[in-house]
Amino acid sequence: MNLEHFKRWLGNLPVHVVLLGLCFIWLLPTLGLLVTSFRPFQDVNETGWWQVLDPPRGAREYQQFCAACHGGRGDAIPNADLSNPDLVQRYRRSFTLMAALTQEFNGQPHMGEVPLPNENQAALIATYLRRLSGLEVRPRFTLDNYIDAIVGYRGTRNYRTDCAEGVQSVDLFCDWRDLGNPRGMGRALINSLIVTIPATIFPILVAAFAAYAFSWMEFPGRQWLFALLVGVQIVPLQMALIPVSRLYAQVGLNGTFPGIWMFHTGFGLPYAIFLTRNFMGSLPRELFESAFLEGASHWTAFTRLAIPLTVPAIASLAIFQFLWVWNDLLVALVFLGGTKPVLTYQISNLVTSLGGGWHLLTAAAFISMILPMMVFFAFQRYFIRGLLAGSIKG
């Protein structure tokens, strides 16, 4: 490597360190969520997610106190085969184990020269023995959290175990019907889709017409109407919640999908019109002039020229609106609430009602994140373009 090259690389080193460090910090919390969602629930509360690849709990203590005689797999002494679940069943708790350790075997102290483990160590060894013998099956990674989250399982073990033993709670059937459990993320996922898809399409459609009018039609008050639109864009959503939910109560739209579609459409419109009109308005004027000269109507110009040429703007808009509606909690909380729970609603309920259930929470949160992440990474270009158009290009 020549010196000049090396010097430049060295000069850039702080840049790399800071930037990579920041990226690492940014990724870490999400990584924790992802890892935790795949761990058995017992592990989640026993060790931190960063310890997921460590040897199982108690392995070190087993090595220290037991492995010399019983062997690494526990089957070195045929009379005391620790890989036999029936034997371990008798010593599965730390106090029964301790009792066994202090007993004499064949006239010799059980532990021989090795000092006795203390209470904590014995507990860890017992945990390890349960796992070693297969008495307790606990894989390093599991999909159970996702299954439990999807069907809305709220028990103390997991859905599959309960169903296998036929002791599931009253609202679970252990068949396909559980996918529709109103407490489950499966049902919420469907509801989120039902809310989001029309709430993305409607405002874009309505906005396209309005944007065309603002771009290529002349009518009195065009300028100030558009200026008003720009201002209205940042009126807080909170302002509309009370009157609209009162209005909805009168016409029976509270807790219905059309109600929330219309609300998202109404509130998405100013920004949608703003963005679409900026793009549509910057299309070459000659194109429209020649079309009109040839006798094209506005309808033809709109459907044949304006819409096809505005597709990039519409794409970024669609992504924005999709992410906004999908990730929204407030509007869903107010207009749908528990009658038609969406993903964000369901998770916020899980957070408050079930403080410590990290295995369920992380799985549920990840279920809600998959689709927006996919949309984001697939259409990142459009997303960023829309962002820039909305905030600097104007």
Binding site: G48, I242, N327, L333, A365
Partner: protein, 310 residues
């Protein structure tokens, strides 16, 4: 606009009512969902808890009373709202400066490396996640185990360094900052993207010229880059202030506004759906709107200026 005037007759051939046909659906929907609610909220803010009578009827004898503005007395002077204002101010101070400075730093650094796109995607990714999802992610980071095992990353880090674990979300003063960190994590990507585009717009010759004159990177950054992208920075700051004033989900999910973390938008929600007091909720909504109005004016001005440049 002169060019447009010559062009009008063609358009008029289509009839005067056609534009309104195209605009109609949008205008109707916006009237129902933005215009009417705005006026109705204003009206409700002067009414009692369920809108059945004027607000002064809720005054209690011997207590201070603002008459018809009674709800505003609550929205402006009650202790919980004062906490909310204080917290929103903290949010603005720390989150806006945090996101803008970090965004600027990352945009500048990323400009100099080959893995720029990847680094930016990583920083930007939280924008795709809901506040609720982010709330779960960070609640886990902040988890406080009273027992020996700390499964929250932050407390595990502290205890492994010999410190004592902190209950991040219930400890007064610390908890609002802990929530703001979540906000920064989510919104830095936005600031970075917008500022990055502006940085790339700065002519390379200008920077080269300064470097040839012997200016170091630090001077180039503060004396040339920053002044040139100042308009963009202003826009980003305004947008962030608006976003921060409306902050709701993070607080709702992570602390519910308890332990002194209340913010305006969360209070509004609680007044409306926990206390069922539409009058107070409406007054809070009005206060929130009035605070945001300067930003609205700023945005309209900016829009006008850009229209003039076209």
């Amino acid at each position: 606009m002169a060019k447009e005037a010559a062009y009008v007759p063609n358009i008029l051939r289509q009839g005067r009512w056609v534009p309104w046909l195209y605009l109609g659906p949008a205008l109707i929907l916006m009237s129902i969902f933005i215009l009417y609610p705005g006026l109705n909220t204003l009206y409700l803010s002067f009414r009692n808890q369920n809108g059945s009578d004027w607000a002064y009827t809720t005054c209690l004898a011997g207590q201070p009373c603002w008459g018809i503005f009674e709800n505003y007395r609550y929205a402006l002077t009650s202790s919980i709202m004062r906490t909310a204002f204080g917290n929103n101010l903290k949010w603005i101070l720390f989150m806006v400066s945090g996101t803008v400075l970090l965004g600027l730093l990352i945009a500048t650094l990323a400009d100099r490396v080959r893995y720029e796109a990847l680094a930016k995607a990583i920083i930007f990714m939280p924008m795709a996640i809901s506040f609720v999802g982010a709330g779960v992610i960070w609640k886990f980071v902040y988890d406080y185990g009273s027992s020996q095992v700390q499964i929250g990353l932050l407390n595990a880090l502290i205890t492994s360094l010999g410190g004592r674990p902190v209950s991040w979300l219930t400890e007064p003063q610390i908890n609002t900052l802990a929530l703001i960190v979540v906000g920064i994590w989510m919104w830095t990507g936005f600031c970075m993207t917008v500022l990055s585009a502006a940085i790339k717009g700065v002519p390379a010759e200008l920077l080269e010229a300064a470097r040839v004159d012997g200016a170091n990177e630090w001077t180039v950054f503060w004396q040339i880059r920053v002044p040139l992208i100042l308009p963009t920075i202003a826009v980003v700051i305004t947008t962030m202030i608006i976003n921060v004033l409306k902050i709701f989900d993070i607080v709702y999910v992570m602390t519910g506004g308890n332990y002194g973390t209340e913010v305006i938008a969360n209070r509004l929600y609680i007044e409306m759906y926990t206390s069922y007091n539409t009058g107070r909720a409406a007054a809070i909504a009005m206060v929130l709107t009035v605070i945001i109005i300067p930003a609205i004016i700023f945005n309209i001005r900016r829009f006008r200026a850009q229209e003039a440049m076209r």
